[in-house]
């Protein structure tokens, strides 16, 4: 694993972000970043796609809230009771792709890309659920619309990131040099 030392602005390396939207935002920040003040005496930043807290925690909260909304909409309970019941159900439901699909994928392809496959399968399951709710008359259709809209925007961001790949690589080299 490559690391960058004593360059705080390297936190904005697009390579330290996973999703296209986050990579694009990171690239914009990196272009605008001057040599940032270093609050520590020595800093080691590994270049790893899953390193950024804001991105990963933000997506986790978004996915969890979306799942809770779908469970609340599906439960035949009054709102406060439905929310209380939906929170643990949503947490357990999000474990299913990992527990059920994870061992099967690992058995079939071994260690390596299995986490990527589980990740894609989980996102596809959420997209299918969102497609179901988006055409319903439930209030959850707004949540589903937002979920699908974010996926579309991320898809568009992926195209922009691909078009900018040369500039991104140059900016990263300048920062990590």
């Amino acid at each position: 694993m490559n690391v960058v030392t004593d360059r705080p602005e390297a936190r904005w390396l697009p390579s330290r972000h996973r999703f296209a939207m986050a990579r694009l935002i990171a690239y914009a920040e990196l272009r605008g970043a001057r040599a940032a003040a270093n609050n520590t005496e020595h800093l080691i930043l590994p270049i790893d796609r899953d390193q950024t807290a804001a991105e990963m925690n933000g997506i986790a909260i978004w996915v969890f809230v979306t799942t809770v909304c779908y469970v609340v909409a599906a439960l035949p309970l009054v709102w406060p009771a439905a929310i209380i019941v939906a929170i643990p159900i949503a947490a357990i439901a999000l474990h299913f792709p990992i527990v059920v699909i994870g061992p099967i994928v690992r058995m079939l392809i071994g260690d390596g890309d299995h986490v990527k496959i589980i990740s894609v399968v989980t996102m596809v399951l959420l997209a299918i659920t969102s497609s179901y709710f988006v055409v319903s008359s439930s209030w959850a259709r707004y949540v589903a619309s937002f979920f699908l809209a974010v996926l579309l925007v991320n898809g568009a961001a992926a195209v922009v990131v691909w078009l900018l790949r040369g500039s991104i690589r140059s900016a990263e080299k300048r920062c990590a040099r």
């Binding site: 694993m1 690391v3 020595h42 080691i44 930043l45 790893d48 999000l94 990992i98 299995h114």
Partner: protein, 298 residues
């Protein structure tokens, strides 16, 4: 396997949870990780003795705090513990390195350059991860002394899945280990010891922590005196997702005088001051699940 042995696998220190953690590290997509962490941290609040131990310790660290506030603080301790052990397993299994920030870099470099030193730390943040990582990057050999896992199957699992390059010694064979460590330090190695908690029947020194009397392990101080090497207080604190701060304080020098008890008392007092400052600031990362103070146990 007997019925009781089968059930022991599911006890809080049982091997099943280590296996489950390893499975999760190898299988969970990173963007679902926070949800999984939040769920399992809440699940482990069902562990009554651990929860009560943390809450009683918090009562001493934060005088006048309410039980309900300490319950939520206890969740924060469990949440941080879950992340630190996960980061440790992730490093061992996938070689994933977190971000590192250094405070007291000059002291850390001095320790690396010294001809033998004691690295004194506490059950805080990811001490395991720090030791494993720096055993691979340090120019000095690092020997870590720690208490063994209570459960034999868990011990076997940890030995099987341990990182290479780090020598771990268990503090159960006190006399022969003391001689081994003395020779190791004299050879220029760094011996990492946790100096906040007494486990088993090891020799102790009296100290004061948050204004109350406690006992701390005597080993690190006796070793420093015998080998004539400094003690460096080092704390590995988790400051965010896959982000750690390594705080190295000024060294504790044990000078020999005619009164050995006074020599030890001065060194222990300096250590307790450093420890208290860090625990006060990062109480949510002091992973002591048993009541620490005798009256807290009552």
């Amino acid at each position: 396997m007997t019925q009781s042995a089968w059930w022991r696998r599911f006890s809080v220190r049982g091997v099943v949870w280590r296996q489950l953690l390893r499975f999760a590290i190898l299988t969970v997509p990173p963007w679902i990780e926070p949800i999984v962490m939040a769920f399992w941290s809440a699940f482990f609040l069902l562990w009554g003795p651990g929860r009560r131990g943390v809450m009683r310790n918090l009562k001493v660290i934060k005088p006048g705090s309410s039980a309900i506030a300490n319950f939520f603080r206890c969740y924060r301790v469990f949440w941080n513990y879950a992340w630190t052990i996960a980061d440790n397993v992730r490093f061992k299994e996938l070689r994933t390195i977190p971000d590192w920030e250094f405070i007291g870099w000059n002291h850390f470099q001095a320790m690396q350059a010294s001809n033998g030193a004691i690295l004194l730390t506490a059950h805080m943040g990811s001490y395991d991860l720090g030791a494993h990582l720096f055993s691979e990057t340090s120019t000095r050999r690092i020997v870590m002394v720690r208490a063994p896992e209570e459960d034999p199957q868990t011990r076997e699992f940890e030995e099987h899945h341990g990182a290479e390059g780090l020598r771990i010694e268990f503090n159960t064979r006190a006399t022969e280990l003391a001689l081994d460590l003395l020779e190791t330090v004299r050879d220029g190695a760094i011996v990492a010891i946790q100096g906040d908690r007494v486990t088993g029947s090891i020799s102790t020194l009296p100290a004061t922590f948050f204004g109350k009397p406690v006992n701390v392990p005597a080993g690190p101080f006796a070793l420093a005196l015998a080998a004539r090497v400094p003690i460096y207080p080092v704390f590995v604190v988790r400051v965010g997702r896959r982000r750690y701060r390594l705080v190295t304080s000024r060294p504790i020098e044990i000078t020999r005088s005619r009164n050995r008890d006074d020599d030890f008392a001065r060194a222990v007092a300096q250590w307790m001051t450093e420890l208290e400052d860090v625990v006060r600031g990062y109480w949510y990362q002091w992973f002591t699940f048993e009541p620490y103070w005798p009256e807290a146990a009552a």
